[in-house]
Symmetry: C2
Subunit: 339 residues, 2 copies
């Protein structure tokens, strides 16, 4: 049974097991520093499909199928799937997963969605509402650019603070601990975040819009659990990029909680920012999903990482809200994984 600790944190007393995971990425991501960790790298970022949207749907579909395969499971073994992406009406998820015939619960938390899906899936498994549940998110550079910024053909110039939307998807399969006593990685706790809006309006600097939300959720978690940054091997945000990561470290230092020795950010990891022209780093629902579902979970399985806080950070604006002069609300959800 889940149990509240403090005001915002939910302890998962049975530690739902991570029983499968997979990451599928595009060419640029495959050429990045973590290329060797992904299950599948597509050199053709259309994936042979006739639109970027269909390509993104396929990324998501492949990530789920690979995760199921690695877990030795079939779609019929999964009680429900939590999925999300950045596209309008979340069509990457609905079209990507419609053939799976699994009860489907669409989630929207912008780039925080991987942590959100994983957190809710954990609670479903912990409570017995699901014996096994799946979480998956995706993003695609080309579908995101034309929806949120400019058509690719326009060739708009990027600002130094802009992040590069990753072409990637990641999926995790969770199972009830009673069925997977020997699974190495377990879900320990979840802290769902409150919306924080500090008035940032620059859609080319979303890291700055999301950093206060990440700080708020981390502080909630540390306060609720009575723990400190040094109690963890890795505090992994996704995706604040360069500007947001530095801001988060500063905000946490102001609170007397220095996370910098153990902090890394999926947006800073996914590309070689110097060689790959990724400016402030990567972003998108698929960025943090792919990093988590490859290198991080593999290193946990291998005993190289033990206690990991994964914090998904989302910028909850739309092109319409920005055109109307609104600021960018941020949100951050945290899941605590332990090997």
């Amino acid at each position: 049974m889940p149990a509240k600790i403090g005001k915002y944190t939910i302890e998962l007393q049975t530690n739902p097991a991570v029983v499968g995971y997979a990451a599928v990425v595009g060419k640029k991501e495959g050429e990045g520093p973590y290329g060797k960790y992904y299950d599948q790298c597509h050199n053709d970022t259309t994936l042979g499909e006739s639109s970027w949207e269909r390509a993104e749907s396929r990324l998501q579909n492949e990530a789920v199928h690979l995760a199921l395969h690695k877990a030795g499971l079939q779609n019929t073994d999964i009680d429900c799937i939590f999925a999300g992406d950045l596209l309008n009406q979340c069509i990457s998820s609905t079209f990507g997963l419609r053939s799976l015939d699994i009860p489907f619960l669409g989630q929207y938390g912008a780039c925080s969605t991987m942590a959100q899906t994983l957190g809710i899936a954990s609670l479903f498994v912990e409570s017995g509402a699901a014996l096994r549940a799946a979480a998956v998110t995706s993003s695609h550079f080309c579908s995101a650019e034309r929806q949120f910024r400019y058509p690719l053909e326009y060739g708009g110039q990027r600002t130094p603070t802009a992040q590069w939307t990753a072409t990637a998807a990641g999926s995790v399969i969770l199972g009830a601990r009673s069925q997977y006593l020997s699974a190495k990685i377990g879900m320990q706790a979840v802290t769902f975040g409150r919306i924080a809006d500090f008035g940032v309006k620059d859609v080319n600097n979303m890291g700055a819009a999301m950093a206060p939300a990440a700080a708020q959720t981390l502080i909630d978690f540390f306060n609720d659990t009575g723990t400190a940054p040094q109690d963890y091997d890795l505090i992994l945000t996704g995706d604040l990029g360069l500007v947001g990561s530095e801001l988060l470290d500063d905000l946490m230092k102001q609170e007397g909680k220095d996370i910098s020795p153990v902090h890394n950010d999926c947006g800073l990891m996914i590309y070689d920012r110097e060689k790959q022209d990724a400016h402030a780093g990567g972003s998108g629902c698929g960025c943090s999903a792919a990093i988590l579902c490859s290198a991080i979970l593999q290193q946990m399985d291998a005993g190289q990482l033990h206690k990991v806080l994964f914090i998904g950070t989302g910028a909850l604006m739309s092109p319409t809200s920005s055109q109307q002069g609104e600021s960018i609300p941020g949100v951050a959800h945290l899941v605590y994984l332990k090997a």
Copy 2:
């Protein structure tokens, strides 16, 4: 603790209590057959805001505040809020609720979102992950038209099968049964739906695209629970409209389960279709939310209705997917409420 019954249904053994609910609507809805049941009717559908999107955010904010007030609660009493709407990146929810300071989990299920938010909120309360949780959805005719169809100024003609997006929001507050022993209405069970896609491509006939999903989820529920349509006082879909409702009744008859004596649809209830020029009826996340959170819950509280199946139905396409020639995937989620 929640317990699986059959393959798809989750029984809520503690029966989380409905402790507050409210519906806020626009002028046309206020003039409809259920006008007297709503908590608040706005004659100015801008709600005094400078954009339709801001007006919709305010509908949602007001619905939550009214539901909290009626429950004698404050925002700080709520452990998490599940919210959704139809706008790109769900901005009605994020901007409408950002001031509440409640852990926020954005949901997207198109017009099925009220059932989805209510179902997940029920499980959070049932499992102890939340002592109290809120569910809220909204839609606005003007924000939806310009996003999904045409700018209002264009004056596009509507087809007879088209549904009218309701300007409305509804919110429910759930509480743990242990804290609300005398609350009249309890959540009994939840069945989350699988995506069904029968190849319908007409975005002006979404009822037909959603009816197969509604039939599938209803059949799953009846099979899992060993019950039949006559065991319930009301089977309330939202929102199939005229075309989809007739289709659902036919599909269910083919399965030997005649729901027509107890079936009604929020899209058929919200407007006087003859006098109000609403063609096939109402639709939108706010339509089913407003009908449920007004007349239905009030009649349950008054002892006029006892056993109600509420089935939210969603059409999971986007303008982009339709322009790319895709069909419309449907989904339906069911919650069983008992007074």
